[in-house]
Amino acid sequence: MRGKRLFIATFLIPPLLLYGVFVVSPYAQAFQIAGTDWSGLSPEYDFVGLDNFRRLAGDGYFWNALRHNALMLVVLPVATILLGLFFASMISVGGRPDRAGVHGVRGAGLYRVVYFFPQVLSVAIIGVLWKEAYAPHTGMINGVLRAVGLDALAVAWLGDPRFSFWCVLAVLVWMNVGFYVVLFSAAMQSIPRDLYEAALLDGASRLTTLVRITVPLVWDTIQVAWVYLAIIAIDGFAIVQIITDGGPSSSSDVVGLRLYKTAFGDGQFGYASAIGVAMFFMTLTVAVAFLRVTRRERVEL
């Protein structure tokens, strides 16, 4: 018994220690720092109680950023999952049925690789690429629009507060969808082929097959995808910072960027930590809420 405990402990303690030092302790400290006016530049600080949170409640720039995160929270998972499911089902089961049974569209292997490309690039590179793609005169997007005669649509994408946020959101969907295509097609591989064949014999269309068979059988995976995407939507910092830096006029600002600028730009680590604490609770709430809402009976095969 003793030997076994020791054995288990040797495996458990190092990771727990690392987790404690590098994850739990910074979180705990953020709570402490959120109650101070620490500037982040000296060891001196005063406790100010809940002042930072009071200030947060009245900070229009924070609420503006939060609104954008909320919008992302709604749009990003829905758009990414719908696109991911569509692409994955086309790749896995979307092909014309023939003697070989149910399979993907022609060239499915190639698509699978192509969709995964953005995952291989680092966020910084994606950001810089898209920033140039959106450029008014030299960018690829306006180049294509002009080439097909849609000159009127070739606007200054990132310079217009009506579009800048949606431009960033489109990049977020683009860079994430590939991963979920792979995730969903892996889940679809485990669905027995004869279910699809039976559906086909009953005369089900592709859409019906997707909605009635595929989605219920990969629901667990969708649920996980939803939580991941929600967390990405609450963050969004890196891509926003690179492409628009929150502009113009804070029209694409997100909470993470506010936090970063408050800490490193303004030297107000106390207030920045308060933003961080608020974000922590938001992420937690959203994750729990999503898991609750999407919980449903497991489909037994």
Binding site: M1, K4, R5, I8, A9, L12, I13, L16, L17, Y19, G20, V21, F22, V24, S25, P26, A28, Q29, Q32, I33, T36, D37, W38, S39, G40, L41, S42, P43, E44, Y45, K131, Y134, A135, P136, H137, T138, N142, V155, A156, W157, L158, G159, D160, P161, T244, D245, G247, P248, S249, S250, K261, F264, G265, D266, G267, Q268, Y271
Partner: protein, 466 residues
């Protein structure tokens, strides 16, 4: 299978590990033990440097690179062969050095520059910066009878001073103005306008010639706040600028500021701004300008270096002061915004503060400064240090600008006192102004509201410009 480790035990273990972590790696802890190395003060060592004390220098590795600093370090080593010099360069000054300031272990000299410089407001209010006044009164390296103070270009002490204490040495000298291509202007027979009426008239001609009169970086629209404020200062006098620096009520609504905003807003109204510029960053818009798609752009004297790789041969970039708004302007046409950039600081808690001051004294020598100009094609704050160096057309026109102004350079300080006010608020207001979402009067109101916000924010330390 017994219950080797219960769930509760596991949680307790985790909590214990977390507590241990908290104690071990507290972000806010630090020691205060200023053990400043001091040596004997002699005629050749007026700052009392301890000859064998190690010196650590951190350089912002941006447009100027780090090579110039290595030359300065070599000069230091020559004077103090026993001193060990640690050199490092980074683009992430704040991220790299912030923990070291907290731990009370900052480097001896920091080139606090770039997009992620450490906010001066924070550094100053924490008392983290050594007063460089002693350096100003020390004899210069070249001539023991001249104080360092008297070797600097005008305005350098002002721009580095906070409440009368000189805390940051802005080593590079930047002139701000309106840039154009001499080649283009010669070819078309255009002449740079001296008054705003002439500017508008010329814009009409330029537009008729199929070139956009102005371009600007819409993603960093604050670049366009520079000609507005320069014109406001020239029209209403330096007091207008000082009121802005001191966050006085209605400073941004002063008639001169409003008139200047109206003038530049006219460019947007009359369609003299390059279409699409609102979506460009500074590199994209300056590149459009270099390609001849636009005639004017607002920038500082680093422009020539920044655009080096895309400037066509024979482009002959030139800079001019902002045109005079009225005949009754308080300053002449030649007055321009000239100020220091590339701030160097000596943290108070550095291990070798004396050495840090001496390092700056070496930088400010004729040899150190001319070497900088030669290496990075930028002027320094040291008088006469560019004499005899072959400069590019852009910098040559900057030196002409400086000579012509006859000491008439001025600058504002609010952007270094309250960085965020310029970088976020004025920037956003300018983005709205030049896309005509607001007009000039609304621009003044909007910026004034932001300035009032800063004036009332107890978390922001206030400075008074005398």
């Amino acid at each position: 299978m017994g219950h080797g480790i219960s769930r509760r035990g596991l949680l307790q273990g985790a909590a214990g590990a977390a507590a241990a972590g908290t104690l071990a790696g507290c972000a806010m802890g630090g020691d205060d033990s200023p053990d400043d190395a001091k040596g004997e003060v002699t005629a050749s060592n007026p700052l009392g440097v301890k000859p064998d004390a190690p010196l650590e220098v951190v350089i912002f590795n941006g447009g100027f690179g780090e090579e110039y600093a290595k030359a300065h370090e070599a000069m230091y080593r020559q004077r103090y062969p026993k001193a060990e010099i640690k050199h490092s360069a980074t683009q992430q000054i704040a991220e790299t050095l912030q923990p070291r300031f907290v731990a009370g272990d900052p480097p001896d000299v920091v080139n606090n520059s770039g997009g992620s410089q450490i906010d001066f407001n924070g550094l100053v209010s924490e008392g983290a910066l050594t007063d460089l006044g002693e350096l100003l009164d020390a004899p210069s390296l070249d001539d023991p009878n001249t104080k360092v103070r008297d070797t600097l270009l005008p305005g350098i002490v002002d721009v580095g001073s906070y409440d009368g204490r000189f805390l940051s040495l802005n080593y590079a000298y930047s002139a701000y103005g309106v840039w154009y291509s001499q080649k283009l202007f010669d070819a078309r027979g255009w002449e740079y306008p001296k008054t705003w009426t002439e500017m508008i008239a010329l814009c009409r001609t330029i537009k008729a010639a199929g070139i956009a009169p102005w371009t600007y970086p819409g993603k960093h629209s604050r670049y366009m706040s520079w000609p507005i404020l320069a014109a406001a200062g020239k029209t209403g006098g330096i007091e207008v600028i000082k009121a802005i620096d001191n966050l006085e009520p209605n400073a941004w609504k002063h008639d001169a500021v409003r008139a200047a905003a109206e003038a530049y807003y006219q460019l947007a109204v009359d369609g003299y701004l390059q279409p699409g510029a609102e979506g460009m960053d500074h590199i994209q818009s300056q590149t459009e300008w270099c390609r001849g798609h636009a005639a004017f752009v607002s920038c500082g004297s680093w422009l020539e270096n920044e655009q080096k790789s895309v400037t066509p041969p024979g482009f002959r970039m030139a800079v001019a002061p902002t045109p005079s708004l009225t005949a009754g302007d308080k300053m002449g046409f030649e007055a321009f915004r000239g100020t220091g950039s590339e701030p160097f600081i000596v943290p108070t808690k550095g291990k070798n503060v004396r050495g840090g001051l001496e390092y700056l004294r070496i930088m400010l020598s004729q040899q150190g400064a001319s070497d900088f100009t030669r290496k990075v094609s930028s002027l320094t704050c040291v008088r006469g240090s560019s004499a005899g160096i072959a400069l590019g057309p852009g910098l040559t026109s900057v030196t002409k600008l400086i000579d012509a102004s006859n000491g008439g350079a001025f600058t504002w300080l609010y952007s270094s006192y309250y960085r965020k006010l310029e970088r976020e608020r004025v920037d956003a207001a300018c983005a709205e102004l030049f896309t005509k979402r607001i007009n000039a009067a609304q621009w003044c109101d909007k910026v004034q509201r932001s300035a009032d916000e800063f004036a009332q924010d107890p978390a922001v330390k206030k400075y008074k410009r005398a």
